[in-house]
């Protein structure tokens, strides 16, 4: 399903959330709703994650984009003493252009960002970005791809199997590219060990 619109993803995601949290009136769920405000607890989030993966045929990342970025950049660059640095804000705004720039004004406590990552809209855009990596058609014979065991897809026609790319791997790739194009060239920082590997 590589070409789902935001609305299509939203509608499907709302059904998953409503079923998991047993919400009858789905009009309560909007793009700027936070999952925790709907009563989601950690176990619900796991369930929503798994159901989303099953229904969209994607492999969601375990870590937030910031956590992955901190691994690539190394400590002290994107966050320091629990606060987001200017560099960290720049990365997040580049990654999430829809983010409200005002929410990154002044001091931003890293753990408060958790709230942002739990917004329905953040999930919808993440899902929309990831479904592009799930092929609808077999690259070899053009036959329709169907979900197989684990994070795999199988061609219904020729039987070839592919493994879905994990969201974390895709995030890491994005961060490395950002590091090279946006960060290193501007700051003249050395090639980070994590970034080259």
């Amino acid at each position: 399903m590589p070409d789902m619109t935001e609305l299509e993803v939203f509608d499907k995601f709302v059904q998953i959330v409503a079923k998991s949290l047993r919400i009858d009136d789905t009009s309560q769920i909007a793009l700027d709703t936070h999952l925790t405000d709907l009563g989601a607890e950690s176990l619900d989030l796991i369930e929503i994650t798994m159901e989303t993966e099953t229904q969209f045929h994607i492999f969601l990342p375990d870590k937030s984009i910031l956590e992955t970025a901190v691994e690539v950049f190394g400590p002290g660059i994107l966050e320091k003493d629990g606060y987001l640095t200017e560099e960290g804000k720049r990365l997040l705004l580049c990654r999430m252009p829809e983010a409200d720039a005002r929410s990154f004004e002044g001091e931003v406590v890293v753990k408060d960002l958790q709230h942002y990552f739990l917004k329905v809209g953040t999930w919808v855009r993440m899902i929309q970005a990831l479904v592009q990596f799930t092929p609808a058609e077999c690259a070899f014979c053009g036959g329709p791809m169907a979900p197989s065991m684990g994070f795999r897809m199988k061609c219904a026609k020729c039987g070839v199997e592919i493994t879905l790319r994990s969201g974390e791997e895709i995030n890491r790739e994005w961060v490395r590219e950002y590091y090279d194009k946006e960060y290193r060239q501007q700051t003249g920082a050395p090639v980070s060990a994590a970034a080259v590997h």
């Binding site: 919400i23 309560q28 936070h34 925790t36 405000d37 709907l38 009563g39 607890e41 950690s42 176990l43 796991i46 369930e47 994650t49 798994m50 159901e51 375990d62 753990k111 958790q114």
Partner: protein
């Protein structure tokens, strides 16, 4: 049970759990409370129990009604636990409004006294440690007098749950622990293990933010319901002083819920108590637990927990947790309770004393062990 089985049994429940000289903390003075329904209209309850600061939060709280109601129910349970604890242990009588519960920087609930009541009592004691959990219209709270104790409580509903949640929630080692359990109890124990992690995360005050794998389950004892959790990676970085410490979490299940609780306090080595001391402690604890229950006769060693004292399963869990915390020793209570359930008989405080004495390595051990087998 033949001798070999007994040896296997004993080694599984006693020495490995309780290495000689295991450090034990000072006794946990705690109160656990539970609410399964609103005692009155939520808006009325809010009026009755919330401090001005809490009211402001309640009025501005975003989210669906279900979430607001569970928050309020959790606050009600927590205030009740703190109020009873202060009254019982410190003779301090406060109204729920004078006990304000506000989250700290990490979201852990912290007790703050407010209003005039506390000053009228001449000096304010350190606020108790507190943990709150709610799910599906039920709220529980655990308050502990020691303000430095690490306290965590959790409950999860047993209804629905994708069975494959284990794959995300647990490491391969933990899944091996689960795989070794009887298949019909696997789902329950997966949830108990999850609850145990949650309780530890709450006790440390950072939730599971260090990642699920940072709370590693090293042992799950189906006989006692005890689950041991060790910190790793991110969680160990946050709490280096807990390196090499096994955190013992009590768990229990009811038809619809799984509960978990941990009270962790550092302290000195404790001597093994005599049978009389155990009996005295149990009588005192029973007195505390049941003081408002209005019995025609005083609680005595012969009193039977369920028929005479009106115990329900959660009461038994609270008592068992308190005993295990008090003696810093896990004991196979779940097995004991299951056994008396099967035989459809009751348990007297005397028998309970024997049971505890056995599992603390007391001399009357052999008899008591036979009795519960």
């Amino acid at each position: 049970m033949d001798a070999f089985d007994r040896m296997v049994y004993d080694s599984s429940v006693t020495p490995a759990w309780r290495p000689a000289g295991r450090p034990a903390g000072p006794r946990a003075e705690s109160v656990c409370s539970r609410l399964d329904a609103f005692p009155c209209e939520p808006a009325v309850l809010a009026d009755l129990i919330l401090s001005p600061g809490e009211r402001e939060h309640w009025n501005a709280m975003p989210g669906v009604e279900k979430r607001r109601h569970e928050w309020l129910l959790g606050r009600a349970a927590a205030k009740e636990a703190v109020r009873m604890l202060l009254e019982e242990k410190l003779d301090l009588v406060l109204s729920p409004k004078e006990i304000e519960i506000a989250p700290d920087a990490y979201g852990r609930p912290r007790v703050k006294y407010c209003g005039a009541g506390i000053h009228a009592c001449g000096g304010s004691p350190d606020p108790p440690s507190l943990s709150i959990a709610h799910s599906q219209g039920t709220a529980v709270a655990l308050a502990v007098l020691n303000s430095c104790a690490l306290v965590g409580i959790d409950l999860e509903s047993l209804t629905r749950r994708r069975e494959d949640f284990e794959a995300i929630a647990f490491s391969p080692d933990e899944r091996r622990l689960l795989a070794a359990l009887p298949p019909d109890s696997r789902q329950e124990w997966a949830l108990r293990m999850w609850c145990a992690k949650e309780a530890v995360g709450k006790a440390l005050g950072r939730g599971l933010s260090a990642g699920l794998q940072a709370f590693h389950i090293t042992r799950a004892d189906t006989a006692s319901g005890m689950i041991e959790v060790e910190l790793r990676d991110g969680a160990l970085k946050q709490f280096p002083q807990l390196q090499g410490t096994s955190l013992a979490v009590s768990t229990a299940r009811e038809p619809n819920f799984v509960f978990s609780a941990i009270i962790h306090q550092q302290g000195a080595v404790r001597m093994r108590p005599s049978r009389q001391e155990i009996l005295d402690y149990l009588l005192q604890k029973m007195g505390e637990l049941t003081q408002d229950w209005d019995y025609p006769d005083p609680v005595s060693p012969e009193s039977k927990l369920f028929t005479e004292l009106g115990f329900e399963s959660l009461d038994a869990v609270v008592l068992c947790t308190a005993i295990q915390e008090h003696y810093q020793t896990p004991m196979p209570f779940a097995e004991l309770l299951a056994e008396i359930g099967q035989q459809q008989r009751d348990l007297s405080i005397d028998e309970l004393t024997d049971f505890v004495n056995t599992h603390l390595g007391g001399p009357q051990g052999a008899d008591a062990t036979r009795r519960v087998q």
